[in-house]
């Protein structure tokens, strides 16, 4: 990606990007466009979240993907986010705007736990 030249250029580029990209990517903040893509996947495999501990910058969209033959859920005990049941191959995404430590677990198999740390 070329470097950002000005605010108006950025706005034009963001608008262009929004028009061209499939809807899935529209919500990615334009300011981060020349950083590494800030979408991160946590795999659900063998009744575990992998990686179980993850540190990301604010604004990151984290996607959980269930690769098990059994449904799982992703639930924040602080009620920050809660997925529907994820059957095999299903995904759930949440964008972490604010810094903090977000623990979560599987509502079906509560021994499955993980943490997303959001830090600058």
């Amino acid at each position: 990606m070329p470097p950002i030249q000005s605010d108006s250029a950025l706005t034009r580029r963001a608008a262009l990007l929004a028009a061209l990209m499939p809807p899935l990517f529209i919500h990615i903040p334009a300011a981060a466009e020349d950083a590494a893509p800030n979408v991160t996947v946590i795999r659900i495999e063998n009744f575990s979240f992998t990686p179980a501990g993850l540190t990301v910058p604010p604004g990151t969209t984290v996607t959980w993907q269930n690769n098990d033959d059994i449904p799982h859920t992703v639930v924040s005990p602080q009620k920050v986010f809660r997925s529907k049941p994820l059957d095999t191959g299903d995904r759930f995404s949440f964008t972490f705007a604010e810094p903090g430590v977000y623990s979560y677990f599987c509502g079906l198999h509560p021994h499955m736990v993980g943490t997303v740390t959001v830090a600058r």
């Binding site: 063998n46 033959d69 449904p71 049941p85 623990s103 021994h111």
Partner: protein, 318 residues
């Protein structure tokens, strides 16, 4: 089995209670095979078996973990194996008075799954008492669909008790309000209800308690236990005969602790590995010819005046 303080159930080093009574039999081929509970002398089982036919036994049935909707490689058609389980009921030597289903009726709490389960299980033509598994409470309303269908006469999240043929039955729910990092959970409201419910019962009344997740700690690393199960069991210790029936772990496991016999039933959908023998408790894939040996139902025979309830595990294939 020794009980250390208030820590609840624990295995002796050899996992055996020599004062216990529970026998487990497996139905194989044309005859009854006695596979006596972990190391109990076979002779005790045989004596009991010879003594039993004098009275007409009262039988009820346990079915569990039908997971209607499951279609993964471990069993591409959980409806078909449930149908086989129900067909097996019709071949039993004595018709069960009723059936208890210890949860995970459906796989994803979908209406269609519950509908199909009801239709197939209904073909048995006997009353059914349900408690939910965690798979039955993942509808939009987190359990509203289950309660509307099965919980009309139940309290709270679906718990209840009833009496039949001199036995007091209690159905418990340990799959709601699960806490991060924890096990199955009954909760204070249900425990208070249970204490009150049992207070009115004579110590000589046989008690049958059933719930989805084992009330005893089977394997906490896989969440196979109930965090406040020991509290519930403490209310049951004064009774002369207590049988605890669970599902969830998709395999037969049992132990006897004083007058309390614990037993888990097979699933009718897919087997799960023995504790710690696989990276996870996920569905166990076995050769097609082996699957039906690992699925099944259980019957429970009660002969009035004789203490133990004899639990017979009956695989689909055998």
């Amino acid at each position: 089995m020794t009980i250390d303080g208030d820590d609840g159930p624990r295995f002796d080093p050899d996992g055996i209670d020599r004062r216990g009574f529970l026998e487990c039999m497996t139905w194989a081929g044309t005859g009854l095979l006695w596979s006596v509970a972990a190391g109990l002398p076979a002779a005790i089982g045989m004596r009991q078996a010879l003594a039993a036919p004098a009275a007409t036994p009262f039988t009820f049935l346990q079915i569990s973990d039908s997971h209607v909707g499951f279609d993964k490689p471990a069993n591409p058609d959980a409806r078909a194996t449930l149908r086989e389980a129900i067909a097996k009921i019709k071949t039993l030597p004595s018709k069960p008075a009723f059936m208890i289903h210890t949860g995970d009726i459906s796989h994803l709490s979908k209406d269609k799954e519950f509908d199909d389960a009801d239709q197939i299980i209904g073909e048995a033509g006997i009353p059914v008492f349900y408690v939910p598994g965690e798979h039955d409470l993942i509808d939009e309303g987190t359990g509203a669909a289950y309660l509307a269908r099965y919980g009309k006469n139940a309290k709270g999240a679906g718990w209840f008790s009833f009496d039949q043929n001199g036995i007091h039955y209690v159905g418990l729910v340990n799959v709601v309000n699960l806490k991060a990092g924890g096990l199955g959970n009954l909760g204070d409201e249900q425990l208070a209800w249970l204490k009150d419910d049992l207070a009115g019962q004579s110590a000589s009344t046989p008690i049958v308690v059933f719930a989805h997740i084992p009330l005893w700690t089977v394997y906490p690393d896989w969440g196979w236990g109930t965090s406040d199960g020991a509290e519930a069991l403490s209310y049951l210790r004064r009774f002369g005969s207590v049988t605890v029936l669970n599902g969830h772990i998709h395999q037969v496991m049992q132990k006897v602790e004083g007058a309390i016999a614990f037993h888990t039933a097979r699933s009718t959908a897919f087997p799960q590995p023995a504790p710690g023998t696989a990276p996870s408790p996920g569905p166990q894939k076995v050769p097609a010819g082996e699957l039906r040996k690992l699925l099944g139902i259980a019957t429970v025979d009660f002969v009035r005046g004789s203490e133990p309830l004899a639990i017979i595990d009956r695989p689909l294939d055998g």
